[in-house]
């Protein structure tokens, strides 16, 4: 699926919920159910700065597509991270570099993030794009 279609799908899923408590409940479910990163990749270099909770992000390239793996010690953060991974994993580096991320605003998540966490989220997105740029230069 294309990045844009995945984002539309996420927005649709979140549309079902009326209240933010329900949306959080869903994020928590996502956070609990997604096994995201191997412990051997939970290393200092993979930690994303600017998050109040710890977030690790690791990427690999297979057959021209990038796969992301991540984790967080906070479940809601992990739920958010899992949405990012769902959006960007198994995509071509160029598509990731050129993608514009709109589901976060569309589901109203950004207003519900404290500036601290929003900052962390921006750093996650930066790191994802950074991996894509780095991998676009390798075969």
């Amino acid at each position: 699926m294309k990045i844009k279609d995945i984002q539309d799908q996420i927005v649709e899923e979140f549309d079902i919920f009326d209240s933010w408590m329900d949306k959080y409940e869903y994020l928590i479910e996502l956070g609990k159910s997604v096994p995201v990163i191997d412990d051997s990749n939970k290393i200092e270099e993979n930690i994303i700065k600017g998050c109040q909770s710890k977030v690790w992000l690791h990427a690999e390239k297979n057959n021209g597509l990038i796969e992301f793996y991540a984790d967080s010690d906070a479940i809601i953060t992990k739920g958010i991270v899992s949405l990012l991974i769902r959006t960007f994993s198994n995509q071509k580096p160029e598509d990731i570099i050129n993608a514009s991320l709109d589901f976060i605003d569309k589901i109203g998540l950004r207003q519900h993030l404290s500036p601290n966490r929003a900052n962390g989220l921006n750093n996650m997105i930066k790191k994802i794009k950074f991996y894509a740029i780095a991998f676009s230069k390798t075969n």
Partner: protein, 413 residues
């Protein structure tokens, strides 16, 4: 201004709450429950009115003009200094310096100590400190080569004063400790720390940011050398701090910033500095804020610090009992001598997750390391949830908090 006289807080809680407009706002569709008072307390009408009144009727520069407004503003500003002198029982008003906050006050003193330290010297901090009472001194150590020693704490979050005695020696030049820990609420036995430090000739700075809002501080009785605090923690505006310093020390301490107001005579060859307190108040100060801080001080004194303490102790006990009913809740900082601060975690749920969920329910708490990472390292946790009460909080609010925490815990377990 509110005409509340000495009274029991509980019987007047509704009229007190009416003085704080922000308590009627809603957050995410829920009535705000503000339990982050250790970070910043809310502002009563009399303080807000004082700021607005200043700009409507008094605004002018102080200490400089012959004109009436300037003189009126100067008078109010200097009257405020007298209020703090009286409140803290300082010997003279010139021992009260207005700064931008606790952090600024500490930096003013620590940078002055640059002149008094060499690399053989030692300075002593405690494990319970806010980063603003650690980092300026680390910077001082880097400049001077002096060494920093740390007073350890026990599992209850209390300082080990026997270990402290062993750290003291004639190499010790200054000891800096908070009166009350912002992260745990522990009230430290600063009198003992001050007396022991003086016995080896060391100066003492006490960070009173978390003490001044909750009980009366007498700097003469304490015999402390420097005592610092921030107005925004006792219902005053942000950006105003108070530095009390003993005259002998303030005379010795070099000026911190150069500029207008702090000089006696300026020529390009040499400038001589003015006397205390102006020596440390270069430039135009936060005049409106300082005057409003004096109004905030009047306000808490009208309610009465004894009444405030009695009521806050009651809230602390009530909340501690209720919180401990929550399955898997652990409190960090269990000294019997505490202000109305409770730091805790529930099971192994990340404090940030709980903070996010209950924020949705309109409840403001602090999560994280509370600018006191060494404390979190001691307990080997990433952070805590911290609730901190002010005299306008209620047991109903605590009940709502407890229900919200139970809900969050179920969602997140």
């Amino acid at each position: 201004m509110a005409s509340i006289f000495k009274m029991n807080v509980l019987n007047n809680i509704e009229s007190i709450r009416k003085e704080f407009p922000i308590l009627n706002t809603t957050v995410n569709g829920n009535k705000l429950i503000y339990l982050d008072n250790a970070a910043t307390s809310q502002t009563p009408n009399c303080v807000i009115d004082s700021i607005s009144n200043y700009y409507k009727n008094l605004n002018s520069n102080i200490h400089r003009g012959v004109h009436t407004l300037s003189q009126l503003a100067t008078e109010k500003y200097e009257d405020t200094r007298k209020k703090f002198k009286t409140h803290f029982n300082a010997k003279s008003s010139s021992e009260i310096i207005f700064t931008a906050g606790t952090t600024h006050s500490i930096n003013l003193v620590s940078s002055g100590f640059n002149e008094f330290l060499s690399k053989e010297d030692e300075i002593i901090v405690s494990q319970l400190e806010h980063h603003s009472n650690i980092v300026p001194w680390q910077m001082l150590c880097e400049k001077t080569g002096a060494k920093m020693k740390v007073i350890p704490m026990n599992n209850n979050g209390e300082l080990d004063l026997i270990a402290f005695s062993n750290l003291l020696s004639n190499k010790t030049k200054i000891v800096f400790v908070n009166h009350v820990s912002n992260a745990l609420g522990t009230v430290n036995n600063i009198k003992e720390i001050i007396d022991k430090s003086h016995s080896v000739g060391a100066a003492v700075l006490i960070d009173g940011a978390q003490a001044v809002p909750h009980f009366r501080v007498d700097v003469t009785e304490l015999d402390v050398d420097f005592y610092v605090c921030s107005a925004h923690k006792f219902c005053g505006p942000t950006g105003v701090g108070i530095l009390y310093g003993k005259k002998e020390w303030l005379d010795k301490l070099p000026a911190y910033q150069g500029g207008g107001e702090m000089i006696d005579e300026v020529t390009f060859e040499k400038t001589t500095y003015s006397d205390l307190p102006n020596k440390f108040e270069a430039g135009t100060p936060n005049i409106a804020g300082v005057i409003a801080s004096g109004i905030a001080l009047d306000y808490i004194n009208e309610i009465g610090l004894e009444n405030i303490k009695e009521y806050e102790d009651y809230l602390l006990q009530y909340a501690t009992d209720k919180l401990l009913e929550i399955d898997g809740l652990k409190i960090f900082g269990e000294s019997i001598n505490k202000t109305s601060v409770i730091s805790f975690n529930i099971k192994d749920i990340h404090p940030y997750d709980i903070g996010s969920v209950i924020d949705n329910l309109g409840i403001a708490v602090r999560t994280g390391h509370h600018c006191a990472q060494p404390i979190m390292d001691f307990f080997k946790i990433p952070g805590t949830i911290r609730v901190s009460f002010c005299f306008y909080n209620t047991t109903d609010e605590i009940d709502t908090l407890v229900n919200a925490l139970k809900k969050a815990s179920t969602m997140l377990s």
